[in-house]
């Protein structure tokens, strides 16, 4: 069980299902297609605690298109749309 993250391939958090748990590998704002500039999106994600090594868990999903998602990031919960969550690469 301990090496599950080694065998699992990387994916954007924006594609994760409810109940998914993983660790943030890196941020890649240019892949998100957000209305924000890459720098702005990355800054905001970091300010909300999305940094490399943080443990994430998808706790809840919205009704329409399973969007937005509520993500546990270490000790806090953040609501974010899937579009922006595409910038967070997890494994």
């Amino acid at each position: 069980m301990t090496d599950i993250h080694d065998t699992r391939s990387q994916m954007p958090l924006g594609l994760a299902q409810r109940g998914y748990t993983g660790v943030i590998q890196h941020l890649s704002a240019k892949d998100a297609g957000s209305a924000l500039s890459d720098v702005e999106l990355e800054s905001r994600l970091i300010e909300l605690g999305f940094v490399e090594g943080a443990r994430v868990e998808v706790l809840h999903e919205g009704l329409v298109g399973r969007d937005p998602i509520a993500v546990r990031v270490d000790s806090i919960t953040i609501a974010v749309r899937r579009r922006e969550a595409m910038a967070i690469i997890v494994a």
Binding site: G33, E40, S43, G65, R72, S75, I76, A79
Partner: protein, 623 residues
């Protein structure tokens, strides 16, 4: 020797308990205003330290960093840096942290330290942290951060004692010149490095238990359930509106009879004449008819503040984000639009939480379509006079159904307008991101709520005492002068300025079924919608004597056709009948154009809706 006023500033992330700490420190000694040039609420309070030092403390808008990506956050940054116009540089910055959630605040504090301002880290809600088994090595944390650290429990009596004595201790040594300001906007790499540094310090000084807050998880399992959550939200809104209409009723009737009795007293005490008429018809019935809404204003703000304090508002935004997104609205628009049911002014001011300009503009433009509490008196008056109070389908009250319908039409048209704006004006833009912290649930703090409600009630009464009072004096004047010539047989008001203005407007409003008395009432109704009721009262009172004023509903039922009444209801859903709202739109958008756009589109909708309603009603024989 009298020491100068000590200036403190409270800085912290949203949900850090900053405002409850502010309320605990200052009690009701608060002054709410705006920062010059912007409509960011400026909250300043005062208190005295144990050693007798006079202190002023400013509660700055919550922020995650000093980058300043919204007007609120810019204020916080400029204030701390001493660049805010007309503000004193704070002598001491209190950085407030939620003890159960230090990550984001410690990062903010590391950034704040670069400004060189003297600073204290306040570990707020320390009791909750202790209960959850979180232990903080306060001494080590202070050493690692290079900043004094103090724990506090804002909601408990004496919970801020340590903070107060530390403030005394530090302010005694403040004479030394402040540190150098090395702050500049952080690059992404620096931001990441600061977060890592913060995480390292937390790992060294704080031990987190394995168990997170189980209550929050349990509540969220229901409240954030995709379907269950929406049902809970609908139930909460239902209770809220039920409360606004049903619970407020006895209090409103009490206020009403109080003002009636006062009017009677003036009538009986003073000799008949201009002064008696001015006090009874102009001042008491006019201002009284507005103050009657105080219970409803208090109840709606009580609900909003309770839900906010509990931590539910962020969840409501989460649930509504995509649903409102279909109409081109941002999830964060939910709270401002909800506030607009109380009054569009706080609603429009609350759009500041939406950091994207275009999302914010759309929300501002449709906020006045939400049925504000000022429309309630107009609706209730007309509904009770014209709609029979019978049951339909066995259990639904017809009057209540019409009221609900008026609300529903308001909401539906707001969504339609938003959709049209998105479709025609702001077509070429990707939706702004929705990123929001969902804080752990907390028991609402009664004292904090009470202070919040009190502040709002005070603002409402202030408005009633100034704007609305002066408009009532004006309408009384217009309705009373010039006096009729001696020996005239027609009612006195037929000779007044009000009648002249009303009759001049009548041809314009005749197609929608309005008579000149309505035209007269609509003019002061621009000051505040509810004044129209008082103005109708004044117009018909002066025309028909005292009995008419007491029974305004019955008078309307004899003077208006059903078609006119329905047309008036339709008019009130849409009409831009509120100068204060327009003024706030002008201020918030910084543009006369958007104010004119709002006024124009609402007027067109109102006229069209009334025209349609009136003609359909007449066609059905209600004319």
């Amino acid at each position: 020797m009298e020491l100068p006023l000590l200036h403190l500033a409270l800085v912290g992330t949203p949900n850090s308990g900053k405002t409850s700490l502010f309320n605990a420190l200052t009690g009701s000694r608060q002054k709410v205003a705006n920062y010059p040039g912007v409509t960011v609420e400026r909250k300043e309070g005062f208190f005295v330290t144990p050693l007798g030092r006079q202190v002023s403390v400013v509660d700055l808008p919550g922020t995650y960093s000093l980058r300043g990506r919204s007007p609120d956050e810019e204020i916080t940054r400029d204030f701390v840096l001493g660049k805010a116009t007309g503000e004193t540089v704070p002598d001491l910055v209190l950085c407030v942290a939620d003890s159960t959630n230090l990550r984001l605040t410690i990062r903010l504090l590391l950034e704040l330290k670069r400004t060189g301002r003297p600073m204290i880290l306040v570990l707020n809600m320390f009791d909750i942290a202790a209960r959850r088994g979180i232990t903080v090595d306060v001494e080590r944390l202070a050493k690692e951060l290079g900043v004094p650290v103090v724990t506090s429990i804002a909601v408990r009596k004496g919970g801020t004692a340590d903070l107060l004595s530390l403030t005394d201790e530090i302010s005694a040594k403040l004479a030394a010149e402040p540190g150098e300001n090395n702050w500049r906007a952080l690059s992404v790499a620096e931001l990441r490095a600061t977060q890592r540094e913060a995480d390292r310090i937390i790992a060294d000084c704080v031990s987190l238990p394995a168990r997170p807050d189980t209550w929050t998880a349990r509540i969220d399992a229901i409240v954030l359930h995709p379907v269950g959550g929406l049902i809970v939200l609908a139930a909460i809104l239902f209770v809220m509106f039920q409360a606004v209409f049903a619970w407020a009723q006895p209090l409103m009737e009490l206020l009403n009879s109080g003002f009636d009795a006062l009017g009677e007293f003036v009538h009986a005490t003073l000799p008949a004449g201009l002064l008696q008429s001015f006090l009874q018809n102009g001042v008491i019935s006019g201002v009284g008819s507005v103050i009657v809404f105080l219970p409803q204003i208090i109840i709606i703000f009580l609900f909003i503040l309770l839900l906010e304090d509990f931590g539910y508002m962020a969840r409501a935004a989460f649930l509504m984000d995509r649903i409102m997104g279909g109409a081109g609205l941002h999830g964060r628009a939910f709270i401002p639009l909800l506030s607009s049911f109380a009054c569009a002014i706080p609603g429009i001011m609350a759009t500041r939480v939406i950091d994207n300009k275009r999302d914010r503009l759309t929300t501002i433009l449709i906020a006045p379509l939400m049925t504000c509490s000022a429309r309630i008196p107009v609706y209730t008056l007309i509904i009770s006079a014209f709609i029979p109070a019978r049951e339909v389908w066995g259990f639904i009250n017809l009057q209540g159904l019409v009221m609900f319908g008026l609300y529903a039409v308001g909401i539906a048209s707001a969504l339609a307008v938003s959709f049209l704006i998105k479709f025609f004006m702001l077509r070429d833009y990707a939706p702004a991101p929705f990123m929001l912290e969902l804080p752990d649930y907390k028991m609402p703090r009664l004292k904090s709520i009470a202070i919040g409600v009190y502040t709002r009630a005070k603002m409402f009464l202030h408005r009633a005492g100034t704007t609305i009072f002066s408009m009532m004096v004006l309408i009384w004047f217009l309705a009373s002068f010039p006096q009729p010539p001696a020996g005239a047989t027609e009612p006195a008001i037929d000779f007044s300025l009000a009648a002249i203005i009303g009759k001049a407007l009548e041809p314009l409003l005749a197609p929608v079924g309005f008579n000149w008395q309505i035209a007269v009432a609509l003019i002061p109704g621009m000051a505040a919608r509810e004044v129209a009721v008082a103005a109708l009262g004044t117009v018909y009172a002066i025309e028909g004597g005292k009995e008419a004023a007491e029974q305004i509903g019955q008078v309307l039922a004899t003077k208006w056709s059903l078609a006119t009444a329905l047309s008036m209801l339709a008019w009130y859903i849409f009409a831009p009948q509120c100068a204060s709202t327009l003024a706030v739109i002008r201020r918030e958008t910084g543009s006369w154009t958007w104010m004119a756009v709002t006024f124009g589109y609402m007027l067109v909708l109102a006229y069209a809706a009334s025209l349609l309603t009136y003609n359909v009603a007449v066609a059905f024989g209600a004319g």
